[in-house]
Symmetry: C2
């Protein structure tokens, strides 16, 4: 290769006519807001079958040029803060106003357990039956990287199907919050009222990536506590963050009661204010472009590793290598060099 980078020819991926036809059909139906096409498209995206993967890739390729004007909202909250109740009340309210709401769940534990215990539709009973809403549970049985790819692609599909708001919610375990923040425009952290100046163990890293803290359960006996908690976090956010780019007052903390549907309209107004500001100033698009590059890199890594592991010569020796390393007979580095050699990559500089 003598090319200098920008002038190098970019090879085209292979084309499968059958996959293209299916993708064409789904894309057309998505453009009309067909929810069954949306569900079918997400199923393709989550599938590991080769023909499904080709069709999913063809579909996502088509959607690159589709409108992408939804607000992508990340939402995190540990169990017990009333996340489902919040999404239900918040979502139904907006859906009643004629907005189309999609909720995509990201549960890293379902990667291990093969699915969450309670179905997402059970958790959000009214929203799941609302004609303007679409709820999709977390893809199961995948690595965190796999969940990321599927969720990113599902967001594209929801946008292509005309949804105005795509909520990506996560339970906030491990890296899932960063992952969700990396694929959304605005990131909300939902908290429960906490007594005194208790810190609820909120990780500093999460405070730094969130755009708004929503203290839920500001009702009944907890109302005053919720307001105090809100004030505490408003102070903490103020101390932690110095972002010249955002409008005055952001990141901010608000208190709501999902149960009494109090403060939900204000939460939505704040989201719209921040979103409008960022759109007008090109911040949203800049952020999305950066996210696309991150996605590109993650996509390359994930595909490369999958192809590697599926290469027959690698797959043939992999169990023996793991066993030999696990029994202490082969050093991990030597086994790694052998695995790479089976893939056709030799030399210690691997």
């Amino acid at each position: 290769m003598t090319s200098t980078g920008t002038t190098a020819p970019i090879p085209d991926p292979e084309i499968d006519p059958k996959a293209e036809a299916l993708a064409e059909d789904l894309a057309a139906r998505l453009a009309k807001g067909d929810r069954r096409a949306l569900a079918r498209g997400i199923t393709l995206i989550e599938s590991t079958r080769a023909d499904h993967r080709r069709a999913a890739a063809a579909l996502v390729r088509r959607l690159h040029a589709a409108p992408r004007d939804a607000v992508r909202l990340g939402l995190s909250g540990t169990p017990g803060v009333g996340k489902s109740t919040f999404i239900e009340s918040f979502g139904v309210r907006l859906a009643d106003q004629g907005r189309k709401i999609a909720v995509l769940a990201v549960d890293p534990s379902s990667s291990r357990n093969g699915g969450s215990i309670l179905g997402d539709k059970t958790r959000m009973e009214h929203l799941s039956r609302h004609p303007n809403a679409f709820i999709r549970p977390s893809p199961s049985g995948a690595t965190l990287g796999g969940v990321a790819r599927r969720t990113r692609e599902a967001i594209l599909l929801c946008e292509a199907a005309g949804f105005d708001l795509v909520i990506v919610e996560t339970v906030g375990v491990g890296q899932s919050e960063t992952m969700v923040a990396d694929m959304t425009d605005i990131f909300l952290l939902l908290l429960a009222p906490a007594g005194g100046d208790e810190l609820q163990g909120v990780k500093r890293g999460i405070m730094e990536i969130c755009d708004m803290i929503v203290v839920n359960k500001a009702d009944g006996d907890l109302k005053a506590t919720a307001q105090r908690t809100r004030a505490d976090y408003a102070g903490a956010l103020h101390l932690l963050r110095k972002r010249g780019q955002d409008p005055e007052g952001f990141p901010k903390a608000i208190a709501v009661s999902a149960l009494e549907e109090d403060g939900l309209e204000k939460a939505w107004e704040e989201i719209l204010t921040l979103d409008a500001f960022r759109r007008e100033n090109g911040i949203r698009d800049h952020k999305r472009r950066q996210q696309a590059v991150t996605w590109f890199r993650a996509e390359v890594e994930e595909r490369l590793l999958r192809r590697f592991r599926r290469t027959p010569e690698v797959a043939a020796i992999w169990p023996a290598l793991e066993q030999s390393v696990g029994e202490g007979d082969t050093a991990p580095q030597i086994a790694a060099a052998q695995a790479l050699a089976a893939f056709g990559l030799t030399g210690d500089e691997t």
Copy 2:
């Protein structure tokens, strides 16, 4: 390939006579406890030069059969808990007793900044000058995965050089704690005394991986607070953990004063008790074998990605792909497929 896994031939990595000769020499000097050979070996491990990497690989290959009887101790603590003072007092005490102590620092921020602001030798003045001690700052300018590999290999070198205790310390930002726990036998979390029942924002995940919490600064005005903090965490550990494998009372919380050198002997005794128990019951070796498999997988991923990015056909189009994705002209998935095609892997099922 028709092989069935265990019967497949395992190819040998290539041999470079010059690298082998250097590795041979270093391995012989390490076996005599030569500290300059240790420093030189770690420098090879941290180098990105191809000949250095070959020599490092040859060295690590040789050390696989070397004695590995050091206690590998992971230690985490956020800035301000007195981590350096603790390691200094604890290390000097043990070194004075004739034990050989190596301290390897893992600072994920140095991956970004190209090195920590204060040198580790300044932080631990007496220990760094002690004839029985060896201190190595965090490798800089590498990814977290790169830091993991280098630190794992540095542990092997320290053990080959006859060190009895290898402390791997980290500031506990992001994933570095899990990484350190994944390469050590025993994991300690160092904390400062906290007023009331304040939680110090200690992440639940860290509580779950640590074998002992050490509350430092149990001296002067803070002595009573430290004892209360210790009791709080002992309770929390008790609630969180149910490990039938460890001896009664573990994981446990103790209070020490690194400044007044109080409780350090007890800390060491607890570490030895746990280590002896785990050795006798095969738990340590089982854990190390599992860690070796994890290391093997990480090693494969890191090498594969490095080889991929360094492949001329990939490197030639990579900047153009990132730019095109960043400008929204190419979908991340399409760009990923193109990058993989440049590596010789085609088809949408990539």
